[in-house]
């Protein structure tokens, strides 16, 4: 029973990841896709952080009151990953804005239709 409880959190995180991934693939709206991507990434971060937790430990800031600490390495990695994620999101949003200005829509299906219709380059 302990095993199942100990692994329960992983199951939840995987569910979150899959929801994010589903939105990315299934949604034709570009902004929603990007949000799904962020959701997917954020869930991966949650997964990593759960690795680092030590029962009975505290935040890895050395102090007299604590004897055990949670693992600092996943924190460092995820800090970096969060920043990378937001950088990607910002770039994605900028691209979406430009796409909207050029095509008049943020719907992927409509954009594909326009691309196939006019095969001539449009500036």
């Amino acid at each position: 029973m302990n095993e199942i409880l100990g692994h329960f959190n992983y199951l939840i995180v995987v569910l979150l990841m899959m929801m994010g991934l589903y939105v990315v693939i299934a949604s034709p709206n570009l902004i929603k896709k990007l949000i799904g991507l962020s959701l997917f990434q954020a869930s991966v971060f949650i997964l990593f952080i759960t690795f680092g937790k030590v029962s009975g430990g505290g935040p890895p800031i050395l102090s007299q009151q604590l004897t055990a600490y949670s693992n600092p390495l996943p924190h460092v990695l995820i800090l970096t990953a969060i920043v990378v994620g937001v950088a990607t999101t910002a770039v994605g949003l900028a691209l979406i804005v430009r796409v909207y200005e050029a095509y008049g829509t943020t719907d992927e299906d409509e954009i594909d239709a326009m691309d196939n219709a006019d095969d001539k380059p449009v500036v």
């Binding site: 100990g6 690795f51 800090l79 950088a87």
Partner: protein, 299 residues
Amino acid sequence: MRDLFAVIMLFGIFSFIAALLFLDMDAVDVAFTEAAVGAGVTTVLMLSALRLTQRYENVSHRHAGMALVVVTLTGAALIYGTLDFPSLGDPNAPVHEHVAPEYLQQTPEKIGVPNVVTAVLASFRGYDTLGETVVIFSAGIVVMLLLGLGRAEDFEQQEDILILWVVVKPMVALILVFALYVQFHGDFGAGGGFQAGVIFASGFILYSLVYGENHTRKVLPARWLPRLAALGVLLYAGTGMFSFFKGQVFLDYNALADSPVSGQHLGILLVEAGVGLTVFSTVLLIFYAFSGRRAVVHE
């Protein structure tokens, strides 16, 4: 759900809850960053982008089949993988052996700061953090290439937000001071360059949202921002290169001062300053790019 505004708000709430989760897992620095970056900056940027595009999603004619297949396969693979994982919080898990106890031991001896995450981030794995700073810088460049810096719009002063007017001005001052506190106190508590940079930028962004961009763009002209971001990166890498001249390897802070520990302190201070500068400039730059785009496009 077709109203993207609502979707973005929900995402913001999700980020905030994730931050709380991180807090519960003892990941204080990460929680701080997720709250500032995920719930804060990302939500603002998404809303800005939404304002420049369309708010409602079109009715979808797609079939969900393919997506479901991919997702089910991936999810199954993930769950399969996690079956072997150690249980949550197990102190004997492999992750807690080997490198992690080393960090906890060596930080007080070799580096002398209480916040181990800052020590690992800025010193032990400082090269990764340099890469991360460059990632932020790259994002700034990319957004500039795509959207330019925009111009302030004519701002209509709305009178029914009087309470915001009154409250926000002193808040902005507090926010800026708090950002400085976070920057310099990051060695001792949660915090550091990233969080500080974001919070400092948030002060400017908050002001712009309530009072319009004219003032903020005058105080800190947008054209300066890419150069400030570049300077931040150069500061970080420059600190690393300084060690060359003393005959040590790149980013070895021991060479920066008379004693290795003071060298580490100085090195961490400098690189975190570089990070803070780049993060602040880039976040503000990206905000200006989005918020100033309307004025540019409609001319």
